[in-house]
Symmetry: C2
Amino acid sequence: MSLIVHKYGGTSMGSVERIQNVAKRVAKWMRAGHQVVVVPSAMSGETNRLLGLAKELSANPNPRELDQIASTGEQVSSGLLAIALQDQGVDAVSYTGWQVTVHTDSAFTKARIMGIDDAKIMKDLNAGRAVVITGFQGVDPEGNITTLGRGGSDTSAVAVAAALKADECLIYTDVDGVYTTDPRVCEDARRLEKITFEEMLELASLGSKVLQIRSVEFAGKYKVKTRVLSSLTDPLIPLEQEMKSGTLITFEEDSTMEAAVISGIAFARDEAKITVIDAYQILGPIADANIDVDMIIQNQSVDAKTDFTFTVPRAEYQKALDLLKKSVQSHIGAKDILGDAKVSKVSVVGVGMRSHVGVASKMFRTLSEEGINILMISTSEIKISVVIDEKYMELAVRALHKAFELDQK
Amino acid sequence: MSLIVHKYGGTSMGSVERIQNVAKRVAKWMRAGHQVVVVPSAMSGETNRLLGLAKELSANPNPRELDQIASTGEQVSSGLLAIALQDQGVDAVSYTGWQVTVHTDSAFTKARIMGIDDAKIMKDLNAGRAVVITGFQGVDPEGNITTLGRGGSDTSAVAVAAALKADECLIYTDVDGVYTTDPRVCEDARRLEKITFEEMLELASLGSKVLQIRSVEFAGKYKVKTRVLSSLTDPLIPLEQEMKSGTLITFEEDSTMEAAVISGIAFARDEAKITVIDAYQILGPIADANIDVDMIIQNQSVDAKTDFTFTVPRAEYQKALDLLKKSVQSHIGAKDILGDAKVSKVSVVGVGMRSHVGVASKMFRTLSEEGINILMISTSEIKISVVIDEKYMELAVRALHKAFELDQK
C-alpha cells in the first residue's frame, strides 16, 4: 500500500463527464489498495469568470476580496469530486484549505504555504476514505482566505505530498508529460521520460506552464517524487502502465538519462522591461507591491551612469512603472525611466550545459541568423535566457529547437 | 447613528450592475452616518447551477458536500460586493460564515443557527467599515460548512441583527413589501404597510416566499425590527423616503393598524399528502431524515381505525413514502399507506380572526361555490389552511382574495 497524491488541472475537471473520469481513475487506485489524496483545480474557465466579475466592479480590486472570491472555484470542484467518488462507491470527503488546515502567509493572490496539518487527512485515509483537498488556497494567521497564484494547485499537491510523506505525487494534466518545448509553438517538440529537478525548476521559472515553479521548489526541498502525466487517457488503463507514463522528475542525474546538452526550451510571451538610469534601491517599492521581478541586469555605461534594467510580467508593467515614477521621479526625473511592454523571454535549459561550452554562442548565432535582435541576456549554471521583441518569439523557439536537435532522440 | 443590517436577495445581486446599485445604496447609508452590515444572497441562478452540477454526478448527493459546494455562491457575491463598496469609496470587508463565526448545528442543507460571534464585526464597524457577511451559511462544531436551506439568507440577516442588537434589519428584495397575496396569482393583491409578527410568521410558514420562516422566528424571538422593501428603486432615493417604504413587521397590534379580519392569503403549491391507517409513532423516521412535516391531521373512523394524514414538501414525498414503507410496512402492510403527490395548500391569515367568527365558514363556502373539494383542514388562532387539488390553487387564491375584500383598503 502506498500513499499517493493526485492533482488534476482545470481541464481535467472541466465538465461533469471529466469529473466522473477523475473519480473512476481515483477509484481504480483505491481498489488497488492505495491511499489517495486528490487535489483538484477549479473547473476550467471558472477562476477567470470569477476574477472577471471582480474586474468589472473595480479597475483595481482588493486582493483579499479577490482571494475570497477566487478560492470558491476549487471548493466547488472538490465537493463535486467527493460526490462523484461516492457515486463510484468510494468513501470520500472534501476539505477546503482552512479546514485541513493549509497555513500560508498573508500575501493575497500569491501566498506561500507555511505548513500543512496532517492529522485530519491521516485520520480519514486510515478510515479508508479518499480525501479531496482544494488546491490553490490556504488561510493566513488572521483567518483570511489566501490563494497561491496561478497554477497554485500544483504547489498545493506537492506540499500536501511533502506533509504526508507521500510515496508519489502524480500531476495529471492535459498534456502527457514535459516536452522539449511547447508543441503548440514547435511541432517537433518531444516528450521527456525523465527530467532533473534542477532542469524542471529552470523550465518552470522560465515560463513553461506544465508546473508552477513553487511546486517544483517544494518537490526539490522535500524530495517529493513527482510525475507529470495525462488525465485524458482511459481512466481504467492498467495501473502498471499508468505508473510508467508521463515524465518523472528525478533528483539525481543517472547514467540512463538522455545525454543531451539541452533538455528544453522555455518561453514567456507576456513580459515587459523597464530601464532606470542611474538609480539605486529602486526595487524596494516594487517588491513591497508584490510584483514579480524576473530578469535583472545592471550595466555601467561609458559616462559612468548606471543602467538598471529588469523585466516584470506584462500584466504588472503599468503598476511597476507607476510605482517607480512615484518613488524615484523626484530624484532622477521621468525621462530617465524607459519601458517596453512588448517583449518575450526565450530560454534554453539543460544540465548538460555544465560540461559543454559553446551553448551560448550557438544560441546567439542561431538567433542572429534569423535576424532576431537580443535585448537582454541572463545566464545561470544550467540555462541561458534572452529577452527579444515579442513578435519574434515563435520563430526563436523553433529555430533553437532545431539548432539544439531537440527533435531527435 | 444607527446600526443597520441590510439583506439583499439573489435578484438584487444578479449582475454586476445590480451589485453596483447595492453598493451605492449601502454607501448612501454609510454617508448618512450609519453603521451597516450587509448580508447578500448568491447571484440569482448560482445556487441552482451549483446544485445542478452535483445532481448530475449523483442521484442522491452527500448533503455535507452539497453544503461545501452551495455555500460558495454567497462567498462570491460577498467578495464582489466588498469590492463594489470599495469602488464607491467605502471601506469594506467580507466574511464567510466560518470567519465571523456563525455557529450552527450539523443538519446539512437545513442547519439552524446556534449563535453568532460579534467581536470581529463590531471591531470593523467601529473602524468605519461596512461589513459584508455571507448569508445562508455557517459552520458546525466539527468545522464543516453548513447551509440554512432555501431563503436562509433572510435568517442570517435577522440573526446577525439580533446578535449585534441592530436598530433595524432591512430585507431588500425584488418586491416592494408584503402583499395580501402573490400578485402573480391575484392581480388585485395589495401591499401592506405593516403586518404583525404573528401574521408574518403564519404567512411565511404557509408558503409566502417573501421571508423564510426561521428569519421571522428569529425576528420575533429577539424583537428585531424588520422591514421588507424593494431593492429595485433608485439606490439614491432620499433616506427618509426609503426608511418608510415597504412593509414593517410590528410586534404589537396598535390602533393605527388596518382593522381587517384577514391580512393575507398564502399558498404552497408543491405539497404532497400521505395517509397511514392505524399506525402510531410513524413520524419518528420522517423526523430523523430531516423531512419537514407540515400539516398533521388525525382522525378516528367509524370502524375504530385511526387515519393519520400529514403533508410534506412535494420534493420529499418519495423519500418520506419510502421511509414509511420500510419502517412500518412490516407492521401494517403497504396497502394501508396512501399518498397524493399533487396537492396545494391555501391559507387565510389575520390577527383580526381572533375576534371574528365566521371566517372559516366564509372560506369553506367560497371554495364550495367554486366547486373546489377540500381534502384537509387545519386551523390555528390566526389562520385557516386547506389542502386542495393542485389544479384549483390559483382559482382558490383569487376567490378568497375577493371574498375577504383584500383588494379594498
